[in-house]
């Protein structure tokens, strides 16, 4: 038999119909929806008089719009409230399970999927959100779709898809001190560029990747889309199985499922379309300086000079980015001072992220002129963090401790930057205006964000004693 990649195995197992010259019709095992990209899909179903084919395979939550302040207060923004009400009404009408603001399982869609065991190895999973790539950390073929496709999945439980190319990224060697999963993925995007993965599904492999926890793997897969790839995957292994065992929606015959999942990893010598090898020992803590995630450098580097870019479009892009970011080429990254810190988002809001930040800030203080917030990814994480006393540590250090949601990653709710404010953010996008019109976003790891909160400027975390205290 021809050796197959993990992607090929999953893809082939989900083909419902194939005809040469046409996209394949593939079956979708799991569909996640949220309030922003689903209303028009339900409206389409209603207009066409179509039912939801398998309502038990779709799960809904509210995350993008939700306020992260006290849940007992009414939602001030009427349009946000309407969008949430619309989701609740649609879920009720079509029989879909919804984790609403009152649910103890509410949270960012890409946090709660894995947390509840809705994300499983070997499955196909889609959501009307580009960061659906996160779920690939479990050996799931997971990708973001538009609203028309959300409607398509609701109506047919299938999607028409062209077969993507395969891109193997192997990271090997010991991860240096102070280098986090976020730094691995930012470095990868820095190398391949924001369209390096276009048309591809990335598989992350190598001993460095295998050594990552599930939380860290999710951080890596989450930002696959920032490298242009729709999906990023990591082969399931004992780490994956241990994470999933006992989760509410995990298979009841778990051992039988594990036996199936063990057949998923890519066969040795399976052919891929492209390979990139990275030596983890060369990795450093990363900071973005521009307005796309590929515009990134090491903490001990300087803001690049646009003249350094040979390609005229890259040069123009850099000039524009520096102008927007209010930075000058040649400035050491460690001399960039910040006003705000955001710890949260589907990239870095999980319990391990919060524990790492708490360990660092314990006994330290957020600089008085900096406003820093921690937004847990889900209610379950919030509760766990509070059980562990992390909320106390954050508050004592001067952080604002919030309710769960997407929050300032995209600023659809009231959590936004003011024009000109500069933010060290653990989120995934530094686009112009992403966190608020005129706001300046630098993407960093949770540890780098915590250190910046304390010092008021970017600082090399490798200079601290980061050992567990």
């Amino acid at each position: 038999m021809t050796p197959k990649t993990m992607f090929e195995k999953i893809w082939q197992a989900h083909i419902v119909h194939e005809k040469p010259g046409q996209p394949s019709l593939i079956y979708i095992d799991r569909h996640l929806i949220h309030e922003v990209t689903s209303p028009q899909a339900f409206e389409g179903l209603r207009l066409a008089g179509r039912p939801v084919r398998r309502p038990e395979l779709t799960f809904a939550t509210m995350d993008h719009n939700v306020p992260t302040t006290d849940r007992s207060l009414p939602i001030e923004d009427a349009t946000s409230a309407k969008q949430m009400d619309t989701l609740a009404r649609n879920c009720k009408e079509f029989g879909i399970t919804l984790f609403d603001l009152k649910s103890p399982d509410q949270g960012i869609v890409h946090v709660i999927g894995p947390e509840l065991g809705l994300t499983l190895p070997g499955a196909t999973l889609v959501c009307g959100d580009s960061h659906t790539s996160t779920h690939g950390a479990f050996g799931t073929l997971a990708f973001g779709i538009g609203t028309s496709e959300v409607e398509h999945v609701l109506a047919t439980q299938c999607l028409l898809q062209e077969r993507p190319k395969t891109f193997l990224i192997e990271v090997t060697g010991a991860r240096p001190y102070g280098v986090e999963a976020k730094d691995i993925i930012l470095s990868i995007i820095g190398r391949i560029g924001t369209e390096g993965g276009t048309g591809s599904v990335i598989e992350y492999a190598g001993d460095t990747i295998r050594g990552l926890s599930m939380e860290e793997r999710m951080t890596v897969c989450n930002m696959s889309i920032e490298g242009g790839a729709r999906a990023g995957m990591i082969a399931p292994d004992e780490t994956t199985f241990a994470y999933l065992r006992g989760r509410p929606y995990a298979p009841t015959d778990f051992d039988a499922a594990v036996a199936r999942w063990k057949t998923l990893p890519s066969d040795p010598s399976a052919r891929v379309d492209r390979t990139l090898r990275i030596d983890a020992r060369s990795l450093t803590p990363q900071v973005t300086w521009g307005t796309n995630p590929g515009q990134v450098v090491a903490i001990d580097a300087r803001v690049p000079n646009p003249a350094e870019f040979g390609d005229p479009n890259a040069r123009k892009s850099a000039e524009r980015a520096l102008d927007y970011m209010g930075l000058r080429g040649g400035t050491p990254i460690t001399e960039i001072s910040i006003d705000r810190v955001f710890i949260g988002s589907c990239t870095n809001s999980r319990i391990e992220d919060l524990r790492r930040v708490a360990r660092f800030v314990k006994g330290r203080r957020v600089l008085s002129r900096v406003y820093a917030m921690v937004v847990p990814g889900s209610q379950r994480i919030k509760q766990k963090a509070e059980q562990e006393g992390l909320d106390r540590i954050f508050k004592d250090a001067g952080f604002d401790w919030r309710e769960s949601g997407c929050s300032m990653c995209l600023g659809m709710n009231p959590d936004t930057l003011k024009p000109g404010e500069r933010c060290a953010s653990t989120s995934n996008r530094n686009f112009e205006g992403r966190q608020g019109k005129g706001g300046r976003t630098h993407l960093v790891s949770p540890l780098m964000a915590a250190a910046a909160a304390v010092e008021g400027h970017f600082v090399d975390v490798r200079q601290y004693d980061l050992k567990e205290g």
Binding site: L25, G146, G433
Partner: protein, 197 residues
């Protein structure tokens, strides 16, 4: 979906690479629950100063480009968020065809679902279009999806590639869901035999 066969239209320009969907339609406008009415917010933070006055430095705002239906832009157009509000805004503003060296995957896909034709041309061909459009006020292109050609009165003639299935869907304005439901029996068979993961 409105079929797309031929389009003769005025061309406008957006001279930036990596235009993300956050720029095409900023987040504050994603709270509507309809598919329509997004055109007024297209490129909002670039098109307007303080959300009110048209920004004179935004090339597309020039009078000569008013009524354009074809947008020529740079590489990786539509990257970032999967929001279909981006093609809805472009369509509502009047665009039916986008030309660039490359597009981000999800955005590219979303365009076809809404009757917008995204065309990939080489960097050189796109550069030529930029030059000609800038040099010639009122510059128009004719896009023929049947023949897969782009032509202009000045003799410019390019062919382009488009996936055959997508081409037929656009030419006939076909609804994907309707097409998939023709395979109802196969979906049922699959469901009967498939062990959930």
């Amino acid at each position: 979906m409105e079929p797309f066969r031929t389009l003769d239209g005025l061309v406008t320009l957006l001279d930036l690479p990596n235009v993300d969907t956050d720029q095409i339609i900023p987040k504050q406008f994603l709270k509507r629950i309809e598919r329509t009415g997004f055109g007024q917010f297209l490129f909002y933070d670039w098109r307007f100063i303080d959300g009110t006055r048209p920004n004179p430095d935004f090339e597309m705002n020039a009078d000569r480009y008013r009524g354009a239906t074809i947008l020529v832009t740079r590489a990786n157009f539509g990257c970032g968020s999967s929001r279909e509000h981006a093609p809805w805004a472009l369509l509502d503003y009047g665009f039916r065809c986008l030309i660039a060296p490359s597009f981000a995957d999800i955005f590219f896909n979303n365009c076809f679902k809404n009757g917008i034709l995204p065309i990939r041309l080489s960097e050189d061909q796109v550069e030529t279009l930029f030059e000609r459009v800038r040099a010639t006020p009122g510059y128009r292109l004719t896009i023929d999806l049947e023949k897969k050609t782009i032509t202009s009165g000045d003799g410019l003639a390019y062919g382009f590639e488009v996936d055959e299935f997508r081409r037929l869907c656009l030419l006939n304005g076909l609804d994907d869901i309707g097409l998939t439901l023709q395979h109802e029996e196969k979906i049922r068979q699959y469901e009967a035999s498939h062990t959930a993961a």
